[in-house]
Amino acid sequence: MRSFLSHKKSDYFICAAVMLLLSLGLLSSNKYTLDILITTVYFCTIASAWNIMCGYTGQLSLGHGAFLGLAQYTSTLLYTKMDISPWLGMLAGGLTAMLLALLVGVLALRLKGPFFALATIALTTILEIFAVKFDGITGGSVGITIPYNPSLGNMIFKDYQPTYFLFLCLLALVLLTTIYISRSRLGSNLVAIRENDLTAASLGINVFRNQLYALMISSFFTGVVGTLYAQYVLFIDPAGSFSVIVSEKAALISIIGGAGTVFGPLIGGILLAPTEIFLRTWLGSTYQGAYLIVYGVVLIFVILTIPNGIAGTVSAYIRKCNCKTEQASGDD
Amino acid sequence: MLKVTELSTGYGENQVLFGVSIQIGQGEIAGMVGSNAAGKTTLLHTISGVNRVWAGKVEFCDENITKMTPQCRTERGLIQCPEGRRLFPSLNVLENLLIGSYSKRAKPKRNKSLKHVYEMFPILFERRYQPAGLMSGGEQQMCAIGRALMGDPALLIMDEPSLGLAPIIVQKVFEIIEQINREGVTILLVEQNVRKALSISAHAYAMESGKITMHGTGKELLQDENLRKTYLGI
């Protein structure tokens, strides 16, 4: 698995192919189809952003909802209270998320395994409580409805295609960043840290600083995609924004798809996001919660049988084949 | 008593032992020497059943125990006193000793064994309510040996019992080992203290790179010019 470091052209090729395929959705004008696609791409993007930090360094964050929510509130408040265009708000949101990441990183990155996960969950919950408490600024638990004034400057559109297009651009950006990182020193350092932080440090890799960079990049993209989603749904509230569930989903999608691979989160998102929607539509109105049982069982099954995720397992298989052919032809 | 035939094992894809065969007779002290990473501890772990056997056979008292779980082996009196003591630091001395007699084999004799251990190591009685982690190295080693004795061993495997101890304590440890042996317990002793180990061993093996390179009586090995070379690598 994780041979991504040595593949370059094929990564760009796959990336382009996937984007091309996904952009076929732009031909549709059916808002439901587009909504499914948007939701899918949204989760792909969040999961990919999550993957930059957690997939590559092996730290399990269940608190990306904190970055998401903070960015959503930043951009929405800038837009609704100060009339600053979401285009700027998006950037501001990403940056505030990054600042939060800096704080979280300094405090919590020395924690490992379940404790990092728990600390991030606690952080998300604390932010949710504060968002509810300080209702003078945040509107409290009622949330904020973003007025529907479609225009390019407001990043609100009558049809869903432009929004979808923006989501696609963002996904492409995150994927390209991931490919770039995976080939860069940062990426190499991160996987080294994931495999063994002590050894990594002995090679001269500053464990803390590299993880912090990754967390900041990851949170930036999480924030940006969060603000875009807020402009799409036109509504934010503490429970929805600072949601541990969203963080959990990002993690599960990445891991099922294959954490620490460029395309794992993409595969996970494309498989799981629509599945969830269809299961909910299919079972949700007849048996309460049944779709989540199915979802949960699938998760357990995948994690127990293919812990490296789909992409990991597939590329391990490919590697095996390659090795065989190499041996057969006896090259090197 | 213990017969290991052509044993191979390893970790992951790395083979560590390559067809090791040893044999220990009833009531004797068998010594095993070899440099670091020669595979001694791996062999002992495999005999105790913690490592899976890749190939070969382990027999104990004429019974094939190759695939038995560690606890089944303890039930048969195959007890290990591990390298580095490995006491349970948050348990007190008494509790550590009692853990030694967890097996069905040892439980009925618990009180007798405990008395015996206290007699052998009066210091343990004095410190019986002290957390084991807070004792000195020598005391810890006594406790570890005591714990092993609580299991009513037929064969006691001792992995580096003198490791990291002051010379005077080392002397004492070897006296104890001989004493235990006199009481009828067969002993497999792995030691870095070659001279001592070989001088009390009836039978001895030297191991290198996962293979047995020499065997004979303790005296023979001790006088063998090759041992010094092998062991010191000169």
């Binding site: 059916n30 587009l34 499914i36 408490k133 309460q288 | -």
Partner: protein, 421 residues
């Protein structure tokens, strides 16, 4: 790597086909509308599922009853049902209903976050959105043309609650300007908007609020809240709670021997069957402010009375207990929607006609089982929605206020100490 890309492409293709399928199958039903399709959305999984499910059954029974009576102008009503546990799902499902199921009317939804999203999309797509429960003021304050709310909004709710408190205060000889009020509310939108309404009204009336405390409804132990109430020593307590915390506040009041002169509970916290069931004798005398769930059938129009009776029967059969307030609210909202709006507009094809029909509705207060009437203001808010005071008497919830809805006399006002109850 090539294989990986093939795998990806294959997957994408299958997903596209899947989504294509789901969007194309319902499109086949483009045959002449023999049925009238209505979107019914409720949170039926997730944390709001309790009341979501109750309100679903309210809506479903109303639709069934209309269908059994021959439908509207001979056409049967078809409910297209969706589970909407959160705002994201609302976005998705409402779009599905509008785009693929081609519904022109959507009714729901109970939860306010989902209502916000659903109402926005419906308005943009020129679909009638008929809210039956969510109380957040803002829903009807955004200039939406096709959004109507049958239920009372939060600030009106709070105002009426404060009014009721005032009248009871007068009854026991308290001077409203000298009485002290303590307000505790769960910190969700429900509690907050009601607290704001109470606040506004008491300011007008000159009553002093000595404690205005918010708390998290997920809280497990409410004794600090009760202790705060006790410390505030207020004459009147207005508490907005969900069921879990509502039960616990009452339990803790008893444990800590706290009884204010008047205790008014608001919302599902004090009115659900579970409240009476788990508190048994201790529920006696507790007052719940909400639209009534014990309609006085004899006060209603005979036809309506018959329908309500039928509803009560069916609800009990379906859910195993008497309908709580949300059931009635959902049922009556759907009932009005079908019989008074869609029937008048002659179907759902013409939005303008439906809006006109809704705006022209003029049903006097007391005509619907919860005592409400219907008259929408410009924003689409029903101005004739009312709340009433219900009281637990002998294990049952009876309505004691206002008089035209009352089926019993209020007891234990002011509340006696716990050991004298």
């Amino acid at each position: 790597m090539k294989k990986l890309s093939w795998f990806l492409i294959l997957m994408l293709a299958s997903v596209t086909v899947l989504s294509g399928c789901s969007s194309s199958t319902p499109a086949n039903t483009a045959k002449p509308a023999e049925v009238i399709k209505i979107g019914v959305i409720q949170p039926r999984s997730g944390p709001l599922a309790v009341s979501g499910e109750d309100s679903y059954w309210g809506t479903k029974i109303a639709i069934d009853m209309v269908n059994e009576a021959g439908g509207i102008k001979g056409k049967k009503i078809e409910a297209v049902v969706a589970d909407v546990p959160n705002a994201g799902a609302a976005q998705n499902e409402v779009n599905r209903l509008i785009q693929n199921e081609k519904v022109k009317v959507i009714t729901g939804i109970y939860g306010s976050a989902m209502a916000e999203v659903a109402a926005g999309i419906c308005n943009r797509n020129e679909v009638l959105y008929w809210e039956h429960i969510s109380v957040t003021d803002r829903l009807t304050k955004q200039g939406y043309k096709s959004v109507f709310r049958m239920h009372i909004n939060g600030s009106l709710f709070g105002e009426q609650a404060a009014q009721i408190a005032e009248s009871y205060a007068k009854k026991i000889g308290l001077d409203p300007t000298k009485a002290t009020v303590a307000v505790v509310s769960e910190n969700g939108d429900f509690g907050k908007s009601i607290a704001a309404g109470v606040d506004a009204y008491t300011k007008k009336a000159g009553t002093k609020i000595v404690l205005n405390e918010l708390y998290d409804s997920k809280t497990t132990d409410t004794s600090p809240i009760v202790l705060k109430l006790k410390a505030s020593n207020a004459d009147i307590v207005i508490a907005t709670s969900y069921i879990n915390d509502g039960i616990d506040i009452t339990k803790k009041s008893k444990v800590l021997d706290y009884s204010p002169k008047i205790f008014l509970g608001i919302g599902s916290g004090y009115g659900l069957a579970a409240y009476g069931k788990s508190l048994e004798k201790d529920a006696e005398g507790m007052i719940d402010l909400d639209p009534t769930s014990t309609p006085v059938l004899k006060n209603l129009d005979p036809n309506m009375a018959k329908a309500v009776e039928e509803f009560q029967k069916r609800f009990k059969a379906a859910r195993g207990y008497d309908s709580p307030t949300v059931g009635y609210l959902a049922w009556q909202a759907t009932w009005v929607l079908l019989n008074n709006v869609i029937a008048t507009a002659g179907g759902t094809d013409n939005l303008a006609a439906m809006i006109k029909a809704a705006k022209e509705l003029d049903i006097k207060v007391g005509s619907l089982p919860t005592g409400a009437g219907v008259k929408f203001d410009e924003s689409g808010q029903n101005t004739r929605a009312v709340i009433s005071a219900m009281q637990w008497q002998k294990g049952k919830l009876v309505t004691i206020y206002p008089d035209y809805l009352a089926n019993a006399q209020g007891i234990m006002i002011p509340l006696p100490a716990w050991n004298k109850r």
